[in-house]
Symmetry: C2
Subunit: 200 residues, 2 copies
Amino acid sequence: MAEGAGTTRAQIVDAANRLFYVKGFEHTSFAAIAETVGISRGNFYHHFKSKDEILGAVIEARLQSTRAMLAEWDRDEPGPAERVRRFVEIVIANGADIQDFGCPVGTLTNELAKLGHPARPQAVAVFDLFRTWLRAQFEELGLAVEADDLAMHVLAFSQGAATLSNAFHDGEFVRREVDRLHAWLDERLAHGRPIAGSAH
Amino acid sequence: MAEGAGTTRAQIVDAANRLFYVKGFEHTSFAAIAETVGISRGNFYHHFKSKDEILGAVIEARLQSTRAMLAEWDRDEPGPAERVRRFVEIVIANGADIQDFGCPVGTLTNELAKLGHPARPQAVAVFDLFRTWLRAQFEELGLAVEADDLAMHVLAFSQGAATLSNAFHDGEFVRREVDRLHAWLDERLAHGRPIAGSAH
DNA sequence: GAAGCGCTAGGACGCCTGTCCTAGTTGCAG
DNA sequence: CTGCAACTAGGACAGGCGTCCTAGCGCTTC
């Protein structure tokens, strides 16, 4: 069973991944996925036993692509401070999608929570990936004691910005909020104690 | 047609309000609402022509109760600074529900966005209520120029805290994040320029 | 008592959902 | 060339959904 990117299975996962984000998990029907991929509806069950299994594969794909992205940032960015800033800028890089559909991680996690879906912890694992990675950056910056707290704060920033960007369809707000967090990082990274005069 | 709190119509709106929050709008069926209220399923259409009409009534009820809450805060709190802090503390006061289901405003707005539902702007109006109210507080504090920006930041804080509280089921994180925002307010309200030494 | 109205129960409807089945096609292995 | 496994198409299925209809209840007002 080849797992290449062009296989039918991979196409299903790709289409479902996007549709779960755009329309939500529950509102995405098999018919919609089938239409996107261009295959028959009944054909799914040769690749997945159930819709939940597709969800599992989608989350697994998101985990994998997130790991790849973080590894790329580890490789490309010169230091931990730049890496955190790279994360902060993600809400601008993906600004268009976020305005329309919110954060893929946050919205899926919340939907699964409301559905009482067993795959919820798996979805939270994507958050954990970011959390752990951010924490590692702050630790590398010598802020070991509060590293996890800072990581969660940066994560909370991204969720707040995404939710309001989606609600108000306001790109300028996101820019201001990103700048504010950059200024906060300036203070935090100066010494571990804030300094006066920064206009955050 | 009496509109009192005990009427069947009001009971339907109450039950739908809670269920839309707990299970999401789409995942909430007429059967579930009927069972909660204790009435027949087919009986709905004497009070509402469609599910969307129930949604409209639920959002209207939320707008009304939000206005009442803000008016109460205007009455009870001595000044605008205390009012903003009262808002900030809401993520702790409603901590249990937020951990389980997220923010009612943010999650509904996002769900309606993904569904492409026409009532989305109506749901955003609840956000606007908070935004306008917060802006008024900051204006009263003499921060007229940046009042809306500050209002949006406080709003973003609440959404970030709510989303992660729901994802990680972590109450201590919310407390830390609230304290951080209080410290930020301390700086902001000192003069409009931050002062040194505050451990935010 | 009669009439009328607000309200309700319960079921019928057409549609769409996730699931499952089966017959048929393709392509590789011997 | 044959056989087997992987894969696909298309439809059947049971159940749930929002919607709608109708018969009947209980209360008020002449």
